[in-house]
Symmetry: C3
Subunit: 159 residues, 3 copies
């Protein structure tokens, strides 16, 4: 199995790339989890946006009352959008960073801090924790991505 | 031409990677199509959000009535956001999956099912089809991405 | 340092890939800047969406008046979402394009035009410039991504 993998590409045998693949998959899965959380709140709060989604709950006028916004649904949706805004740059810049030849220990530090910060950000958003909890966890993740971008530009700069 | 490509990188000569590149490009183009569909509904329904966008349709008060929401525009926008939430994880995890050395036939199965499911999801959203049409097409695409993530973590796991 | 990089991967020594890494990092950083611009408008306009974010500005009823929308905040948020919708396809398709073996000069032309168009788009959105300024800058970036997608599919096509 390993032999086949090495044949198809050597990237996955590179330790920094394996670390990147692990953490990128974890934060993308965490982002995907937001879809399930939003769906859970939509179903338990009966708060939908598409008329065809309310048909299981009643006909005609009876169903229309479920076309409404709910604070918990909106909160989960904001957390999801914030993930898109922050995890997309991490995945894109992180890939370039992993290919720019950093030390494994430095790369792991970046990936682990970002992943921890984004998990805390989601908890801070959903519980919700008092500020500056959410703000700080956002800023930590943002700074990690900036640090990786600096390293990418230093290694790759070709305008 | 082929020779040059091989010189610059061997990835594009890897069949699994070529399959990934093909399907990733197709689903990203499908996502980009949502911009055109939204613009089409904005122009035909005359429903805009930026004051500067309404100036072609009248001056002052006459233009203000076009600053409004329209159900078709909002539906296309929700479809677009759902694409971002689902196609971004597919493109990110799919790249790592393609580099983790899967069998070509297994990889093609993943890529084809995801692509078909997302095209069905867009149709189900825009027509719209009665539920659970949209829900099922969403769940199929989501499951394909989970399956690829499982394979990535199995091959790359390095915490 | 270079030696280490070459050992871990040769991609970063490929000029087209280095150009891609540079411009992908720049447009992702530009997208991240939208978070700071939104936060700046939220703080200066005192317009928040999460109750816990207003606690620094007063207690109880006094804080509730800051739970409101503001045109500048909404404008920055729309610019950010438009970046997600357009920069994500660029980063994804651009990576595949960079690996498909284009001429360096052609690749640089694509990356530079896209990057310039998206910077203009942000300026056109935030100032705001009269239309068709924003529309044209959007269309130029969109066309560059389509051109790269065409080249990817031509090189990689494997359905």
């Amino acid at each position: 199995r390993r032999g086949e993998m090495a044949k198809s590409t050597q990237l996955i045998n590179n330790e920094v790339f394996r670390a990147y693949a692990t953490y990128a998959a974890i934060v993308l899965l965490k982002m995907m989890l937001m879809s399930l959380i939003t769906a859970y709140f939509r179903l338990t709060r009966k708060a939908f946006v598409n008329p065809e989604d309310t048909e299981a709950f009643g006909k005609g006028e009876a169903a229309k009352k479920f076309l409404r916004t709910d604070p918990d649904v909106e909160r989960a949706r904001r957390g999801h959008l914030n993930d898109l805004e922050n995890i997309v740059p991490f995945v894109g810049i992180g890939l370039l960073y992993a290919l720019s030849g950093p030390e494994l220990s430095t790369a792991l530090l970046h990936f682990r801090i970002f992943t921890g910060a984004r998990i805390l950000h989601t908890l801070a958003y959903l519980i919700p924790l008092p500020q500056p909890g959410r703000g700080l966890s956002w800023a930590v993740g943002y700074s990690v991505t900036l640090s990786m971008a600096y390293n990418v530009l230093k290694a790759a700069w070709l305008l």
